[in-house]
Amino acid sequence: MFAAMLGEAWHAMGANRLRTFLTMLGMMIGVGAVVLMMAIGEGAQQSIKRSISSMGSNLFIVLSGPPNAGAARSATGNAATLNVRDADAISELDVVSSVAPVSMGNAQIIYSGNNWNTSIIGTTPSYFQVRDWSISEGYIFSDSDIRSATRVALIGKTVVENLFGDEIDPVGKTIRIKQSPFVIVGVLDRKGQSLDGRDQDDTIIVPLTTAQRKLFGNQVPGSVRQILVQAESDKVMTQAEEGINNLLRQRHNVREGSDNDFSVRNLTAIANTAAETTRTMSLLLGAIASISLLVGGIGIMNIMLVSVTERTREIGIRMAIGARERDILLQFLLEALMISIVGCLIGVLIGIGGAMFVKTFFGTDAVVSTQSISLAFIVAASVGVFFGFYPARKAAKLNPIEALRYQ
């Protein structure tokens, strides 16, 4: 009997194709929007997750200059109040596992006539541990390279592509950074995008001392603008932050009550906040998109009410030959459900298509998850039942005599 009713619902849908299609359209657009929005949200979350795991774990960044210098502060903007001895002192703290002083800037690099502008990071070998970064070719420079400020460089994949192309193996080649020759000793593993959207592979890493003396020309010897600090574990983050603050205040002779000449930022906390924000954003996107589902549902209810009125006589006939209230209820509920489910099916396809479109033309990550599809189906079915119920009940409660006498 259920099969027979499904068949009838299918026929009823086919009886007025244009109307059925227009009714479905609301559902299609709604589901399509939900699937697409959730795909964009999911894509954003995944890329954030990748960025966070590429950042390194339990990370602090100590920046030179007072903390209220504002967000506009850049690595090159402020006076360098930190130095490598601060970094050494921090590494003595119990809860700190690794420390890497960083001096950075931009520079033009040249290899046999090819030019490329990229960011130069001057640091120590512990940087690779802190950032959880390794190399795919060659070797990482050593502490002795730091001591003697050798002109060696590790090169990121993006720089390799732009300077060397696919053909040439960069290891062992000499490039010019700000006119000085540097020998490439290794190629960095691919890291992808950072949290703030920079390409982390568009970089060259050189020994800290080399950068300070030969590239950026420090006024104060040994000064750095950043120190990256990795704590032992996520449980000692507050302890580590306090330790760094106290230590540096003491070392910099900051008096009780006056401001720090440095600032400590918990990068891991910032990253988690970013992830949380993205999650909230994608939920919000989904929620806004679901409003169109609601509108689609109201459209279904509207058409079902019209349909019940138009088919009053048919309902009367069915009752006269033995349809029970629940048979009529089920019939109209099935019709509403079928419209919403078929609409949902097409909507999912639209959503997937939209996600592919967004990915190809805007480069935004859009990941259609099975969860979002099953969610769309559940919501569509609920919308069908919810908005189909009232018209179906209206049909089922008709008086057979009056229904038969209709028009």
Partner: protein
């Protein structure tokens, strides 16, 4: 003989803007199994109202109605639907077929509501359609056949669940006299097979097919051919 229908002190009134409007006034009637009854009477005398009550489509305001032994007044909606489905076959003046469905599906529809599976539905529907002489029209739509043929489809639909009682409210009202005769021959045959037939008609020659004629006037039975003398003659005037 078994009583298919037993109606006593049946009243029906409609609520109208001008107050209650009495349509049936103390109708008493017993119809035996296998009987063939024609109900006659002027328009507005309450024939259709009475038929609808007999067909469990409407309920009386007061009075008793026993159908096949069931006290209809005390049955719930589902039980009434089941009576309409299995015990009664209703034939309307206006055929009342589903325009979008094939004749086969129209005829098979009552079987959907009695939960038969598709194979049995089609088998039985073909059987009754063949019986009413429409074997070559299984897949036609109602608008592709004549009125007389449509009424045959409606009769086939009424028959498909093997009812004990066929109720027909002016079944020939929309048909010409030749077609009417053919339809009446069909009812005659059904009655010969033992099905109780009750039909409403205005025409004497149609009513002559029945074994028993009942006349309604102003919501009352004023004449019943099965009784020796007309009932309540004094009220005719």
């Amino acid at each position: 003989m078994d009583r298919v229908i037993e109606v006593s002190h049946l009243y029906k009134s409609y609520e109208t803007a001008a107050g209650p409007f009495s349509v049936l006034k103390d109708v008493n009637l017993i119809i035996e199994k296998g009987d063939y009854v024609a109900i006659m009477g002027p328009s507005g005398s309450g024939k259709s109202t009475f038929m609808n009550i007999l067909g469990c489509l409407d309920s009386p305001t007061s009075g008793d109605y026993f159908l096949d032994g069931y006290d209809v007044a005390h049955l719930g909606g589902n039980a009434l639907a089941q009576l309409r489905n299995k015990t009664i076959g209703f034939v309307f003046q206006g055929f009342n077929l589903l325009a979008r469905s094939s004749l086969l599906d129209n005829v098979a529809l009552p079987l959907v509501y009695s939960g038969q599976d598709k194979r049995i539905r089609h088998e039985k529907a073909k059987q009754v359609l063949t019986k009413v002489g429409l074997a070559q029209y299984f897949n036609s739509r109602p608008n592709q056949i004549s009125g007389g043929q449509q009424q045959r489809v409606a009769i086939a639909r009424a028959l498909v669940n093997s009812p004990t009682l066929i109720l027909a409210d002016e079944p020939t009202g929309n048909l010409d006299s030749k077609t009417s005769e053919e339809i009446m021959t069909l009812f005659d045959d059904l009655n010969k097979e033992g099905i109780t037939v009750i039909l409403v008609t205005h025409e004497n020659d149609i009513a002559a097919h029945a074994k028993r004629q009942i006349r309604f006037l102003d919501g009352k039975v004023i004449e019943d051919s099965s009784r020796a003398e007309p009932a309540m003659v004094e009220e005719i005037v």
